[in-house]
Every structure is written in structure tokens, then in C-alpha cells.
Amino acid sequence: MATVKICDLTKKFGNKIAVDHLSFKVSDGEFFCILGPPGAGKTTILRMIAGLEKPDEGEIYIDDQLVNNILPADRDVAMTFQSLALYPNWTVYENIAFPLRIRKYPKDEIDKKVKEVASLLKITHLLDRTPVLASGGEKQRIAVARALVRSPKVLLLDEPLSNIDALLRLEMRGELKRLQTELKQTIIYATPDQLEAMSMADRIAVMNAGKLQQLDVPDVIYNKPANKFVAEYVGTPTMNFIDCTLTEKDGHIFLDAREFTLDVTKFDEALKESYGREVILGIRPEHVQISMERVKNAIEGKVALVEPLGRMTVAHILISDIHMQVICPANFKVEYGSKVWVKFDTDYLHIFDKKTGKSIL
């Protein structure tokens, strides 16, 4: 068990900056998620912590020891690869035993540890087979078992669930989280899937284009996104965004979206600085109410598409040329093209600066 500290880490590939002056600290026993789209630099960060890639700038500390110049073999860090990288010519048992064997553990201890970790991950029945014939989920477990068997200081997981089918992913998600809670293992987990990050992580670092966007607990990431990128990336269906200008009239403050205006006087304090500026209004689909009759303060729109998803229905509404998604109850029935009225729950409004994308509210 260990802590990981990263200071001002930078990595370039040619002219491309993969990781840009990144700093964070992972505490002992934490489930730490690095979330971001492909190319955000997630894998590069993991590879630098593992020692497979040399940083151009910055320091990496494991348990307060600088490890920049230590060979991967001596860092006591385990990693699972996206491709899993199981040794195809050996049995599952030999795969899992390998890290111990190379460290010259006594035979009976190896045997004990392998069987322990195999039963923990429910792959005891596979031990004598080669991993080639195992299913996607099983391979995943084997890879995790191989990483866990020597109880490394830090476990790095690189998109471990991206290659298994949706049903299994759901199951593995729960299992991994449970395992981590049980073992109190420090885990750094890279994923492009916001649902995975939200459901498993103690803290999430949202990355984009090598830069850290926000680092916080899932709840805050979801409810108080630091900028438009985070707001858009986290949550499905995605947040609705509407271009607006902030205007003042008769002591009231309005968001003017041309098709409609919204009174936001109650956020006076926070918005003071931004009067007259171009902003983006953001609201999550679950914070928009929809009704078939005209309601006070509601905005008129047209139904463009209805997606019944079983437990809920997502309605696509066009307010002139503004496209919005709204979550409705499962039994909500509405015809293509019919008129509806939507109302925003102003307690959950987000306002972003159009130029910088930073959250104002």
C-alpha cells in the first residue's frame, strides 16, 4: 500500500504534448480514476508511473521516494494493459505465478498466493488452461490476478473493461470496486467511460488534451463541473447547452437565448462580473420538466424524436433551432411533431463563460 505523488509532470511526443504540467496526489488505499477521451494522456500518465515511459519534466514519488530513475522492475508497481498482455504460451497458473517466480519466492508460497488470488477473482477453474481460450471477462480477471498476486504498492489499470461486452462490464465494475474496498489497494484507473469513473472512483481526475480539467469526488464532478468540457463529458444523456447573453433590465438579470429569456436575478452575486458577456447555459436533461399544456414561465417547443429506453424516455425537443434532450418518465407518450412546453429547474442551472468555458455558476 502506498501513496503516489506527481509533480509538474510533462511528456511530449515530438511536437505533441501528451501530458502537460500535471500534478496530483493519490492517497493510500484510494481508488483514483483518470477520466478522459482517447488522446487525453491517460495511458501516458500510467506508463510514466510504471516507468515504461520517461517523463520530460517533473517528478514521480511513490511512498515519498523519487522513482524517476528506477527500472520498472524495481518500482513495485503493477499494471494491466488494455491489450491485457497475457503470456499466451503459459497456463493461467504460470501467468499469475510469473511475477513471484521472477522474484524467486519459494515454491509453496507461490502456490499459496496464486491459489488465494485465483479464488478471490473466481478463476480457480481456469488455472490449468491457457489464457488464449478464456473469455474476455476471464482474461480480464487473469490480468488483474497477475497484477495483484504480489500485492504491489500501486495497481495501475488501463481501460480494463473496454474490451468486454456491455452486460459483463456492468458486473465487473461492481466486482472491481468491491475487491478494492476489501483489499484497500491503491488503484489508479484510467478510463474513457464516465459511468465507470462515476460508479467506482473515490476521486476522479478529468483530463483533456493532456491537461487536468477538474479533480474531485464524483458527486462534485457531476453537480459542480468546473468547466464546459467536464459538464459535457460526464453524464448521459449529455447536458443541454444553449448560447446566451447575460443582460440586465430594470434591476433584473436575464439570460437571453433569443428564443426565450430566463430570469436569473437570484444568482446576482455570482453573475455580477459577467454582465453583458456571451455565456453558455447548461442544464442536465433530468432537470427539465416537460408538459403537454401551456404552463407559466415555460418555453414552447416541438418534439423531434422520442426514445423509449424502458426505465425512462428521452424526448428530443426543438425550440426553434435549439436542440434539447429531456428525460421523461417511462410511460410518457408523445407524438412526433407535437407541441410541448418545457421548464428549467433553475436550482440546477449551470452557466459557462463562452470564451474560456469556465463555470461561472
Binding site: 521516494q65 524495481d74 518500482r75 513495485d76 504498492k153
Partner: protein
């Protein structure tokens, strides 16, 4: 975490160096050093019958002058070899592609037919030479079978006439190397993505149209590699042809390799042949750099 000092050979850079050093030594010893010696020898009139190489008389560019302005036989041999190369490679390509097209789906006996077609490629070229030498004798089986088919006695003396001798060399080469083209084309065809082909079929394209508009264009890079590799190999033509004709009758079937063997290792004019060898090496280097490299790099 122990910060032990790592042994010298465990450092990645050093380990890589250790692995590659034996190769460097042997390739430089037998590859590079002789090349330098050869450049020197090409400026002398060295012949092993008249003493060691360093005692030979330095004659400057005379060897090169003679190659370019006096040696008709050399240029004829080059012409002949190029002609043979082009004819052989094109025939092998067409036959190989045609055969490969028959093997893209499963049918009864596929494994047998594949193995049978590939067999000639695995015959030692010298043995191929002797096979064709036997078959095309005046009293050999080819004449016998031709007689049977036509019903009149045929006694062609294949190796006595230049054209027929050339033809047997052509046949032997095609026989031996069509399998290579077949294998290459087949692997290319099997590696093609099936979806575009199926897409063309669903859009209504006939078999020929699918081949002409979809398969052939997608095979282009592979065809380029195949023609090149085979062309380079065919230009080296020696083993089988030498055993069949020894370049005869006269010099009618003498290829570049045979000609150089004759000059260098029968007449022992090594200085002269070194100059010729260097010219060919330079020509090949230019060819490799400007033609082969781009195509090969694109592929891998």
C-alpha cells in the same frame, strides 16, 4: 523498493548492443571488408593464376573502359537476362493470380491442390535444371508425348537451337516460380477485407466487375511487391539454366551470372569481373533506393 545499482548488461541500451554485436562483426567481416578489397581489385588486372591480389598491376579505369566500350558480350547478356526476367515474371504473375482466384473459397480437395501447386517451389533449383534437362532431351518424354498427341514422330533437339533452348529455360523458371506468385497472390486475396467485396456484390456487381473494380485495385500494393521481389530474383537466374544449357548453344542463353562466372572463374580475369560486379551492385543500389525502398516501406 531497493535502489540497487543495476548490472551493466541489464541496462536496456547495453543489452541491445550486446545482442547486435555478433551480427555487426560477421556482416562487416564478410560483407564490408571484401567490398573495399573489390573496389581496389577492379582497378587492377588481377588473376589468381598470376599471383596474389596485391601484386597485380594497377591499370586505372581500363577495366571500366572495356566494359562500357568493348564488351559486347556483357551487354548482350544483360539484355538477354532482362528480357527473360520480364517475360518470366509477367507469365508467372498472370498464371499465379489466375490460379489463386480459384482458391479463395472452400472446395473439395483444396488442400491437395494447394500442396501440389506449391511443390515445384520447394524443389532445389539444380534439381529442377536436371529435370528439365531430362525431359527435353531429343529422346525425352516431352518429345514422346508430343508425338503421341500429334500422331507423328517429333524429334526436336531442344538444346541445340538458341530459341528452343531459351524456351526451355523460360519453362523451367515459370514452372518453378509460378507457385511463389500463386502463394503470394492467394495470401493477398485472403487478407483482403471481405466487406467491400460483399458490398460490391450487393450493389449488383458481377464476378468480373467485383474483380476488376474492387479486388484488383485493393491488391495493387501487394502486386507491386510481388513483381519486384520476383523480378529481382529472376534477374539472378542461374542454377537451373546453367545445368540445362551451360549458356549454350554458343552464348545464346548466357545470362549475366553465367557470363561473369565464365570470365571470372573459368578465364580467371578477376580484376575485370570485379569491375563488372561493382557496376551491377551500384545499379542495384540505385534501383533499391529509388524503387524498392518506397514500395517496401509503404507495406511494412
Amino acid at each position: 523498493m531497493q535502489n540497487k545499482s543495476t548490472s551493466w548488461y541489464k541496462k536496456p541500451e547495453n543489452f541491445a548492443l550486446l545482442l547486435i554485436i555478433p551480427l555487426q562483426i560477421i556482416m562487416n567481416l564478410v560483407g564490408l571488408f571484401p567490398l573495399i578489397a573489390e573496389i581496389y581489385v577492379s582497378f587492377t588486372n588481377w588473376s589468381p593464376t598470376s599471383g596474389d591480389w596485391y601484386t597485380a598491376k594497377f591499370i586505372g579505369l581500363e577495366n571500366y573502359y572495356r566494359i562500357f566500350f568493348k564488351d559486347v558480350q556483357f551487354w548482350q547478356a544483360i539484355q538477354r537476362t532482362l528480357f527473360l526476367t520480364i517475360v518470366c515474371v509477367l507469365t508467372e504473375f498472370l498464371l499465379g493470380l489466375g490460379l489463386a482466384l480459384l482458391f479463395t473459397d472452400n472446395f473439395f480437395g483444396k488442400r491437395f491442390f494447394t500442396s501440389a501447386i506449391l511443390l515445384p517451389m520447394m524443389v532445389v533449383p539444380a534439381a529442377t535444371g536436371y529435370m528439365f534437362f531430362m525431359m527435353f532431351q531429343k529422346d525425352g518424354p516431352v518429345n514422346a508425348i508430343l508425338s503421341m498427341i500429334t500422331g507423328q514422330e517429333i524429334k526436336i533437339n531442344w538444346f541445340v537451337f538458341g530459341d528452343t533452348a531459351m524456351f526451355t529455360i523460360f519453362l523451367a523458371d515459370v514452372w518453378q516460380w509460378t507457385p511463389f506468385m500463386f502463394l503470394l497472390m492467394l495470401s493477398g486475396l485472403l487478407a483482403l477485407p471481405q466487406d467491400p467485396i460483399n458490398a460490391a456484390k450487393v450493389l449488383g456487381a458481377s464476378r468480373w466487375q467485383v474483380f476488376r473494380h474492387v479486388i484488383l485495385p485493393m491488391m495493387k500494393p501487394l502486386i507491386a511487391i510481388a513483381l519486384l521481389l520476383r523480378g529481382i530474383e529472376a534477374f539472378k537466374i542461374f542454377d537451373a539454366a546453367y545445368i540445362m544449357t551451360h549458356g549454350g548453344p554458343g552464348t545464346a542463353t548466357q545470362t549475366v551470372s553465367m557470363y561473369m562466372l565464365e570470365i571470372g572463374f573459368r578465364a580467371w580475369r578477376l580484376g575485370y569481373v570485379a569491375a563488372e560486379a561493382l557496376l551491377i551492385v551500384v545499379a542495384m543500389l540505385l534501383f533499391a533506393w529509388f524503387v524498392v525502398r518506397p514500395i517496401f516501406l509503404k507495406r511494412s
